[in-house]
């Protein structure tokens, strides 16, 4: 086999294998995209996403509730103090 035949065959094979691979690669990509779409539309994934958003909402609500609880505790402490002063004053008034 002479050199020019070898080179021609090599170039033809190279182009052929590149063509085959491009076709196969495109098919694999399409299949992967379809699989991805199927997965994102499946009930399990939707349920998981719903659960995630609910967890985030509940976490935010918990933080808000903690703040409110702290504010209420402060108010109760103030009122208790005021109450004890008022009782003392009532006692003084009663004695007089």
């Amino acid at each position: 086999m002479d050199n020019s035949t070898q080179v021609i065959l090599a170039v033809v094979t190279l182009l052929g294998s590149a063509g085959i691979w491009r076709y196969a690669e495109a098919r694999l990509k399409v299949k992967a995209e379809l699989k991805k779409d199927e997965q994102s539309a499946s009930d399990t994934v939707l349920y998981r996403d719903d659960l995630k958003s609910r967890v985030e909402e509940m976490d935010a609500a918990l933080k808000e509730a903690n703040k409110e609880l702290l504010a209420l505790t402060e108010k109760v402490a103030k009122l208790e103090t005021e109450n004890s002063f008022l009782r003392r004053e009532i006692d003084i008034l009663k004695r007089n």
């Binding site: 035949t5 065959l9 090599a10 094979t13 190279l14 052929g16 196969a24």
Partner: protein
């Protein structure tokens, strides 16, 4: 008669399951051992076999071992795109060998020459597996 039909049905189901399992293994199993084997064959077997059977061909006997070494280099690393590239080169060389043997009229002279077709198919399967892995990692 009913028992025989039942047994045949269960055999058919079993064979179908095993066929599916083989198909999944072929499509998704780890391809590193195959890549290493194909690369080693490209470095050692390929130049010797082509030189003895087809004669001196610098494209096949000088470039193929380099491609094989490149494949080994890529398998030892963790870069998937490098492995895809190297596997495509390996596939091209095995396909080139099959084409050269076909051109010289040797490919169908004896069953042992069909090995080049087998190696081409094997390297193409390996290439597809790595690409699938790459796409799977990208898509998560």
């Amino acid at each position: 008669m009913t028992i025989v039909i039942e047994k045949l049905k269960s055999l058919a189901t079993d064979l179908s399951t095993r066929y599916d399992s083989l198909r999944k293994i072929w499509q998704y199993s780890d391809s590193q051992p195959t890549e290493i084997t194909l690369a080693a064959a490209l470095v050692i077997l390929y130049p010797i076999a082509t030189f003895l059977e087809l004669g001196y061909s610098p494209i096949m006997q000088l470039l193929a071992p380099i491609a094989g070494l490149y494949q080994l280099y890529c398998v030892s690393g963790k870069c998937l795109s490098c492995r895809v590239r190297a596997s495509w080169v390996t596939f091209s060389f095995y396909l080139l060998a099959a084409v050269m043997y076909l051109y010289c009229g040797l490919l169908f002279k004896g069953p042992s020459y069909w090995g080049w077709i087998l190696l081409s198919v094997s390297s193409f399967g390996s290439l597809k597996r790595i690409k699938k892995e790459e796409l799977h990692r990208k898509n998560g």
